[in-house]
């Protein structure tokens, strides 16, 4: 009886399954894997182009600040930095999975950093990485940088010099370039801990002659200009890598590879950013340890926005939509469309998970804008703040499970695109 039933089952499956698949396919037009990966590259190109454009605006604002240093030009530069973070944070979803981005990223957005490498700090409230011999090198104050037995000539502060000082002495905390180095130069150390308030650098730190505060203003100005120039150069390079109609860039390589591998990279990027990086490194560590040292945009207290736009980046890729800084929208075939065509109910469930994340991230932003910044939320006794961050973490964990489920529906079993040895 058992054998007979099993045989009938098998026959039924053979007859019934193709019929049901065909019926579903007729209901929802499933995009091809190739089209989805192609649109992924389109979003990357648009997103990096926006990041470049806002970085160029930041560079102009910094040039204004260095020409006419005053509180107003400093405020304008800070505002430009905050605007530049909006598209950039969304691009972080391209980092994991695309080795070319991950290898390039260290010079652009490395974090956390030992800021004593760059400029003066309050030594009593400065905690640096254990064993980092460059943690107090202070490039701005010193024309000769001594690390261990090596001496580096830092007389002329150029983009090339700063790039060469990254990971000085082998420590990842030695970050001389990128968004966070510029953030530190604009805001200064946040000495408020888990209390209200961000860094309070004064415009006089960039003034010439006797008006200069904290010494070496000329070198501080040179540093800020070199760092912003390098940021623009780096983003220009990344835009080129994703530009269409080129035969020698990364986009061409990605689209020439199998579409399944492209999808795998997309999934790996979404899952790694959502769980290990955003929910884990950037939120859970800071929350559980009540540690402001582990806050992402710690000098400017812009962490809530950085996290929000990280999550937005994941949303963009899953749903194939990206809103550009000029307000226009890039839309096209997506993972969500494909899952919907294959399993509409599962697609609905996953969409709910993404919406929950968006809503929990919105709560984080709303609270921060009402005066409770991320570093205040993580204070040991702030139950309300803990709940807000805890909900955001939980929603990202659930969303990651949704991403895994989507991969399964599409037939992507191995989620890691780099079988060689993922040093992501």
């Amino acid at each position: 009886m058992l054998r007979q039933t099993a045989l009938t089952c098998l026959l039924t499956s053979i007859v019934a399954l193709p019929l049901s698949v065909q019926a579903n396919a007729e209901k929802n037009q499933a995009p091809s894997l190739k089209a989805i990966v192609g649109h992924y590259a389109d979003i990357a190109y648009a997103n990096y182009s926006d990041a470049l454009q806002t970085a160029q605006t930041l560079q102009k604002a910094i040039n204004q600040l260095t020409k006419k240093p005053n509180e107003e030009t400093l405020k304008q530069a800070k505002q430009a930095w905050l605007q530049a973070r909006i598209p950039y944070q969304q691009t972080e979803v391209f980092r994991f999975g695309n080795k070319i981005v991950d290898d390039w990223e260290g010079q652009v957005n490395a974090w956390p950093l030992d800021e004593g490498l760059i400029d003066y700090v309050d030594s009593e409230r400065y905690e640096y990485e254990l064993g980092n011999s460059g943690a107090s090198a202070n490039i701005i104050a010193n024309k000769q940088i001594k690390v261990g037995s090596k001496t580096i000539n830092a007389t002329n502060i150029t983009p090339e010099l700063l790039a060469s000082l990254n990971e000085l002495g082998g420590s990842e905390a030695n970050v001389a370039t990128g968004y966070h180095a510029i953030e530190f130069l604009l805001w200064g150390q946040d000495l408020h801990g888990t209390q209200a308030g961000a860094g309070e650098r004064k415009a006089t730190d960039f003034m010439p002659g006797k008006q200069c505060t904290n010494q070496h203003c000329d070198r501080r100005v040179a540093y800020l200009k070199a760092a912003s120039e390098l940021l623009v150069n780096d983003l220009t390079d990344m835009v080129t890598q994703w530009a269409p109609k080129k035969s020698d860039n990364y986009r061409h390589e990605l689209l020439s590879d199998s579409p399944k591998q492209g999808l795998r990279k997309m999934f790996y990027g979404m899952g790694s950013l959502a769980l290990g990086e955003l929910a884990g490194e950037r939120m859970k560590v800071a929350l559980e340890a009540n540690s402001t040292e582990d806050e992402h945009d710690c000098f400017s207290d812009n962490t809530h926005n950085s996290h929000y736009y990280n999550a937005q980046g994941i949303y963009n890729i899953f749903f194939g939509k990206y809103q550009r800084i000029d307000g226009s929208t890039v839309t096209g075939p997506s993972v969500a469309d494909l899952v919907k065509a294959k399993q509409p109910k599962t697609a609905q469930q996953i969409e709910k998970l993404f919406n929950t994340t968006q809503s929990s991230m919105q709560t984080l932003i709303d609270k921060a804008e009402k005066g409770m910044a991320f570093d205040q939320m993580i204070a040991a006794n702030n139950k309300e703040g803990h709940t807000i961050i805890g909900n955001a973490i939980q929603s990202l964990v659930a969303q990651t499970e949704g991403i895994e489920k989507a991969a399964k529906v599409i037939g992507i079993n191995n989620l890691n695109p780099d079988n060689a040895d993922h040093a992501f």
């Binding site: 089952c9 019934a16 905690e127 420590s171 290990g276 009540n290 540690s291 895994e404 191995n414």
Partner: protein, 349 residues
């Protein structure tokens, strides 16, 4: 109900599912039972070791006789090492209650690149100068609650000794008491919520993901210090117990593999050969770690100061061998078992 063709199909599908369930799920009960026993034993051992640490800490802090103090400190340091060995083994159970309620960090905080353990412990001591209670500790940062903070109190050579220091002693006793509570809690409740395992595939997905994630984490613990050549990135640099931690982790991973996964690699010649290659890799790695000098911290300091090539080569060989094992477990084993490895906390930076 009228027997229309559609209803007939539905009926057959239901029977089909039932049969499939019976056929597929029966052997999994035995495996699941093994898994449950394994987890029970691991948590029981953890509880035993942290209870011993707690008793030893109480003894150390009661002692007033100067003659007894060095011996009691040594005994408590040894109890800490034993508790750490038990914890690194329990850390393989990276699913269920310990994850849902975020309990792992209450046992150990790692990595600690910016010396947060020292900062948070000293801050806590400043804020609680009178008495220290378990309640105060459980409300504080996870960093001050676990074995990492206990290690700082027991082994840090640059701060005042715990011997004869009533306040530091109180904190150590409270830490070990909270560790006992957390361990008891895990032991008693980890299985309250049944595991979501309906068939063999679910079972293999669970145990393979746990092992893959654990091996990735253990490799990260090793490579962070070794590849960066930073002695302070070694997992337990204050107690110089880092190499033993890795060795114990490999033993735990090997046991997990032998008991819970290897039986599923016996149905073809190719699978058997693959199973054997994993066992060989585990043994080679365990032997290699046993042969290393006891202190990774000292080794890395020596390399940094004197560019000692022999030590460098030894660490390179160890790392390479370890990386191969990790690849077998995280890439080839899931492929052979036809399971998918999901995202985990090791992804990202």
């Amino acid at each position: 109900m009228k027997k229309t063709p559609i209803n007939h199909f539905r009926h057959l599908y239901k029977r089909c599912l039932l049969v499939c369930c019976i056929l597929v799920t029966s052997p999994v009960f035995a495996s699941l039972d093994n898994l449950i026993k394994h987890v029970d034993t691991t948590y029981t051992n953890l509880t035993t070791q942290v209870e011993r640490l707690h008793q030893s800490s109480q003894q150390l802090c009661k002692t007033t006789s100067p003659n007894q103090q060095p011996a009691n400190l040594t005994a408590t340091q040894q109890a800490w090492r034993n508790a750490m060995n038990a914890w690194v083994k329990a850390d393989l159970i990276n699913f269920g209650l310990v994850v849902d309620e975020n309990i792992a960090w209450r046992f150990q905080f790692w990595p600690d690149k910016k010396n947060l353990v020292k900062r948070k412990v000293e801050q806590f001591l400043q804020q609680h100068s009178d008495t220290i209670t378990d309640q105060q500790l459980t409300n504080a940062s996870v960093i001050v609650q676990g074995l990492s903070a206990a290690e700082y109190l027991l082994f840090d050579s640059k701060t005042s000794s715990i011997v004869n220091n009533k306040q530091r002693c109180q904190l150590l006793v409270a830490i070990s008491s909270v560790l006992v509570q957390n361990s008891h809690y895990l032991q008693k409740h980890w299985n309250t919520q049944p595991l979501d395992v309906k068939n063999q595939h679910d079972y293999l997905t669970l145990v393979s993901n746990a092992l893959a994630s654990y091996l990735e984490k253990t490799y990260k613990k090793w490579s962070l210090a070794v590849l960066k050549q930073n002695p302070y990135f070694a997992e337990s640099w204050r107690s110089q117990h880092s190499t033993v931690n890795i060795q114990q982790s490999l033993v735990a991973a090997d046991t997990w593999y032998q008991q819970l996964i290897e039986p599923y690699l016996q149905d073809t010649k190719a699978k058997k050969a693959f199973a054997k290659s994993i066992s060989t890799s585990f043994q080679q790695n365990i032997t290699q770690f046993k042969q290393l000098p006891a202190s990774l911290f000292s080794m890395l300091q020596t390399i940094k100061q004197h560019e000692k090539n022999s030590a460098k080569e030894l660490l390179q060989k160890t790392t390479q061998q370890f990386r191969q094992l990790k690849k077998q477990i995280t890439v080839y084993l899931p492929k052979t078992l036809d399971v998918s490895i999901g995202f985990n906390a090791n992804d990202g930076d």
